[in-house]
C-alpha cells in the first residue's frame, strides 16, 4: 500500500510532467505591449467619434454609452440598453484590450475591430442607425468635416469612420497591471494571495482557455462542457446559441469566444448572459461547468485576488 502511494504519486507525476513542462517552458499569460505606429490624430478623431451620440438614430447613444472607457470599458449591466431604452440580448464585452482579441463579438462574427464598428450602428436594438444617416449628420457639421479632412483625404466615409474608431480602440490597451509587472519580474507587484491564485488558475486548468496576452480572446469554447449550464439556467435564447448563429454547425451550438480576463474586476456582471454578479460567482460557475470540479472558498478568494491584479490603466488622455 505504501508502495502504491509512492507509485501513485509517481504515476501522478507523469501527467503532471505535462503540466510542469507547461510552466517550465513559458508562462501562458504574457504582459501587454503598448501598440506602436498609431496615428495620434486618427486616435483623437476616433475618440471623438466613440463618444459621439450622432452615431445613433436619435442622437442618444454613443459607443461609450455601453463601453464606458473610464468604467472598465463596459456598462455594468447584464444586457446592453440601446435607443428608446431597448434592452439587448447579450452582455456588453469590454472595449479595453479588445484589439488583442482574435475575433470580435461573443459569436466571433467580426474578424477585425473595423468590422465590429459596423454592427452596433446598424443594430436596431443598439444605435438603430445606418452609415448613410451617420455620414449625413457628420457632414452637416463643419467641425467634423474639417477634422475628417485633416486625417483622411477622402473625408467622411464609412470606411474612415470605422478606421478612426478602430484606431482609437487599439490605443485602449491597459498595460502595466500589477500582474504584468509581476510577470516582468517585480515580485512585490502582487500579494501572495494573488500569486497563489495564479498558481491555482494554472493548475486547475482555467489557463487552458484563458491564456495569451489578453488572458483569453483567442479561441472558442463551449459553455457547459462538464455540465449542462443552459439546462440548469433555463430560458434559452437565440443569443445562447453563440457561434452556431454564425457557422450553423451543431458542434458550435452554445460555443462562444473565450472572453479576455484583463480588467475583469471592472466588468461585472459576467458571462454572455450577465448571470454572475460577482467574481466569486463567476469563478464557481466556471469551476463547475467548465472544469468539472469543486472549488473551495479559499481557492475562490485566491483566484479572485489574482484576477483583480489583472486590471491596468487606460491612457489618461483617451478617457
Amino acid at each position: 500500500m505504501k508502495c502504491l502511494n509512492r507509485c501513485g504519486k509517481r504515476r501522478v507525476f507523469i501527467p503532471l510532467l505535462f503540466f510542469f513542462s507547461l510552466s517550465s517552458q513559458s508562462e501562458p499569460i504574457v504582459p501587454i505591449t503598448s501598440p506602436s505606429g498609431l496615428n495620434e490624430r486618427e486616435v483623437q478623431l476616433g475618440k471623438r467619434l466613440f463618444h459621439s451620440t450622432e452615431l445613433s438614430r436619435d442622437n442618444s447613444i454613443s459607443c461609450a454609452s455601453c463601453h464606458k472607457v473610464g468604467g472598465g470599458g463596459d456598462d455594468d449591466l447584464p444586457f446592453a440598453v440601446g435607443v428608446d431604452g431597448q434592452v439587448g440580448p447579450i452582455n456588453s464585452p469590454t472595449v479595453l484590450n479588445s484589439s488583442l482579441n482574435a475575433f470580435q463579438f461573443w459569436d466571433g462574427r467580426a474578424a477585425t475591430l473595423e468590422e465590429q464598428a459596423e454592427g452596433p450602428i446598424h443594430n436596431p436594438l443598439e444605435m438603430g442607425s445606418s452609415w448613410q444617416e451617420v455620414i449625413e449628420k457628420l457632414s452637416g457639421s463643419s467641425a467634423w468635416v474639417d477634422e475628417f479632412r485633416e486625417v483622411y483625404q477622402d473625408g467622411i466615409t464609412s470606411v474612415n469612420i470605422a478606421r478612426a474608431i478602430a484606431t482609437y480602440e487599439r490605443a485602449l490597451v491597459t498595460p502595466n497591471s500589477p500582474f504584468d509587472r509581476y510577470l516582468q519580474g517585480n515580485e512585490s507587484a502582487i500579494e501572495d494571495q494573488a500569486k497563489e491564485g495564479y498558481r491555482l488558475f494554472k493548475r486547475m486548468g482555467c489557463v487552458s482557455c484563458h491564456q495569451g496576452q489578453n488572458v483569453g480572446g483567442n479561441m472558442f469554447q463551449q459553455f457547459g462542457i462538464m455540465g449542462d449550464y443552459f439546462r440548469d439556467r433555463g430560458s434559452i435564447t437565440e443569443a445562447d446559441y453563440g457561434r452556431f448563429n454564425v457557422t450553423g454547425k451543431e458542434r458550435d451550438r452554445y460555443t462562444f469566444k473565450v472572453p479576455g480576463l484583463r480588467n475583469v474586476a471592472q466588468t461585472a456582471p459576467y458571462f454572455h448572459d450577465g448571470s454572475a454578479e460577482t467574481l466569486p460567482d463567476a469563478i464557481r460557475t466556471m469551476a463547475r461547468y467548465q472544469l468539472g470540479r469543486g472549488i473551495t472558498a479559499d481557492q475562490v478568494r485566491a483566484i479572485e485576488a489574482f484576477l483583480k491584479s489583472l486590471s491596468g490603466q487606460v491612457r489618461e488622455d483617451l478617457l
Binding site: M1, L4, N5, C7, G8, R11, V12, I14, P15, L16, F18, F19, S21, L22, S23, Q25, S26, E27, P28, I29, V30, A102, R203, M204, G205, V207, S208, C209, Q211, G212, Q213, N218, M219, F220, Q221, Q222, I225, M226, G227, T255, L291, G292, R293, G294
Partner: protein, 745 residues
Amino acid sequence: MSKQAILSVYAKVLIGLFLVLLVTFSLLSINRYSASYEYQKSLLSKLRLSSQQLHAQLLEVRGGFVVDYDGMVEKVSEINNLLSSFASSNSLNSQLSEEEKSVFGGWLEGQKKIDISSAGLVAAQSSRAQVVEDFKSNFSVFRNSQLIVFQLIADLRQMHADNRVLNDDLDKLEANALKAIHAMIDENDSALDSSLSIIRERHRKSFEDIDEFLGFIIGHFKVINTRESIISDIVRDEVVLSKDFEEQLDVFEYKLDGEYHQHSQRSSMYRYGFGAVALIVLFYGIFQAVRSGRLASQLLVHNENLEEVVAKRTENLKLATDNLQAEQKEREKALIELKESREMLDAIINNLHGCVYEYDIVDDSVSYMSRGSEDIWGVSPREMSTKEDIRKYTNQDDLPSVCSAFERSLDEHAPFNVEYRVMQKSGNELWVREVGVPIVENGAVKSVVGLVSDINEFKKAGEDKKRIQEELHHAQKMESVGQLAAGVAHEINTPAQFISDNLVFLQESAGELIGLVKDIEAEVEKSGGESTRQVIGELLDRADMDYLADEVPQALSQSAGGIERIATIVRAMKDYSHPGESLEFADINGALQSTIIVSKSEWKYFAKLETAFDEDLPMVECVVGDINQVVLNMIVNAAHAIVDKFDDPDNLGGLITVRTKTLEEQVCIEISDNGAGMSESVKNRIFDQFFTTKEVGKGTGQGLSIAYRLIVENHGGKIDVESEPGEGATFRIVLPVSQSQKNKN
C-alpha cells in the same frame, strides 16, 4: 528637295520612332513583369515558411511545449495577409499579360494559356484555419480533463488521508485510469468502470458529495475518451491540409516559373528582333552618311563657283540700289515741298473770310470746296457737292441773277462778280459776293474757281448809312421847317402885337360904351318921358342890347385871350429856335415852360401835362437851347409812350409830369409819364445812337443819344431813366448849377 525626298525622310523618321517606342515598351513591360515575378516568388516562399511554422506550433501545443495559442492565431493571420497580397499581385500579372496581348494582337493567342489563380490556395487556407480552431477548442478541454481527473483523485486522497480503504480504492482507480488513458487496449475501460463502482458502493456513506465527485470523474473520463480521437482526427486533418497547402504552393510556383520562362523567351525574341532591326537601321544610317559625304564634297565645289557669280551680282545690285536711293531722296524732298505748299494753301483758304471752290464743268460737280462753306452756307464742304446744293442755299429771288452771271462768265471766258443773298442752313440770310474765274484748257472751260465772301456787314453798314442819311435829311428838313416856323412866328408876332393892343382898347371902349348905354337907359327910366322910354326901349330891343351887353365883352375877352395865346406861342417858338449857343445862366423853369408850350401839339390830345417846379430853383449856367431840345425830346417820347399804352386817345388817362428840384449845387429835371414803360434790355440801350423802338421812318433813334451827349458831355451832367414795363418811365436830368464847378470836378 523634292516632295518625294521629303516624304521619304518623314517616313524614315516615323518608322524609327515607332521602333524605338516598341523597344521601350517591351523593355518596360519585361521589367515590370520581372519585378512582379520576383515579388510573387518571395510571397510564395514566405507562405511556405508560415505554413510550416503553423504546423510546428500546433504540434508544439499538442506536445505540451507551448501553452498559449497567440502564436498560432498570429500565424493564421499572417498566412491570410500573405495570401491577399499574393492575390493582388497575381491580378497584376494577368493584367500585364493582357497588355502584351493588346500590342502583339493575336500572335499571343497561339501561346499556351497558363491558368494562374490563387483561389485554390485561399480555399485551402480557409479549411485549415477552421481545423486550427477546432483543435484549440478540443485540445483545451482534453488537456484539462487529463489533469483534473488525477487532481481530483489526489485531492480526495489528501482530504481522506485517514481512510485507508478509500485510499486503496483510489489507488486502484488511479492505476486503472492511467491504463485506460495511456494504454491502447479497451479492456482497461471495464477495469476503470469497476473501480468507480466499487468506490461508489463502498464509500457512499463515508463522505458527502461522492456522487458529485464520481460524476466529475466520469465526466472527465468521457471527455478524455471522446476528445482524444477527435483531436487525433483534427491533427491528422491539419497534417493533410498543410501538406495540401504546400503542394499547391509548389504547383503555383511551378506554373509561375513556367510563365516567366515563356515570357522571358518572348522578350529575348523581341530583343533579338529589335536588335536586328536596330542593326539594319544602323547600317542604313552608315550607308546614308557615306553617300551624303560624297554629295557634300560635290556641293563644296559647286558652292565655290556659285559664290563668284553671286559676288558679281551683288556688286551690280548695290550700284542699282544706290541710284534708287538717290532718286528716292529727291522724290521725298519734292513731296515735302509739295506738302508744305499744300499746307500753306490750305491755311490761306481756310482762313479766308469766305469759301473757295472749284467747280468742274466736265463732271458738272464741285471738285473742291473749302471749309469756308461752314461760314457761308453753314454746311460742311461735303454737303456742297453739286449745283443743286448751291442753288438750294441761294436766295430764290437772287438766283436768276447769279445763274446768268455764271453762264455769261462761261460764254465769255471771263471772270464774274455777283452779289446775292445766301440762305444759310440755319435759315439766316447772308449777303455774299461771289467772284469766279473760268479755267480754260484747250479752248474749252475745264472748271471754274471761285471765292464766295461774306459782305453782310458792309451791306448792313450801307443800309445803316442810307438810313442815317435819310434821317439826316429828315433832320435837316425838320431844321429848315423849324427855321421857317421861326420866321413865320416872327412875322406873326408884329401883327399879333398890335391886334392885342387894339383888343385891349376895344375891351375898354366896349365896356365904356355899354356902360354908357346902361346909364342912358337908367336915366331915361328915371327922368324920361314915356315916349322917350318907349323909343329908347325899342331901340334897345332892336339893337338887342342885352345880348350885346353880354356877348361883346365876352367876345372881346376871348379874342384877347386868343391873341395872348398866339403871342405866347410865338414867343416860345422864338425862344426855342433862337437859342443862345453860349453858356448863360438861365431860368430853367421858364425854359421848360416854353418847351412845354411848343410841344403842346404832341401831347395835348393824348395826355395831361402837369408841372411841379421848384420855385426856388436857382439859375443854371447852361446852353438853354440844348436843354430845351433835350426836354422836348423827352416830352415827345413820353407822349408816344402814353399813346402806346392807352389805346383810346379820348381816354386822357395819360399823365406827363415835369418836375424840377434843387439839389446841392445841382438841379434836377424830371419828366415822368405813365405810358408803356420799357423793359430792362430797352432801358440799357435807350441812349444808344440809332436805337429806337419805333417803326422804321417813325423814329430816328437819335434823340436820346443826342440828349445824352448834350447833358453829359457838354454840361457835365447826368441823365438816366427809371422804368418798369407797363408802368411808365421817368427821365431824370441832373445839371450842375455852375459849369466852373464841373471843371473843378
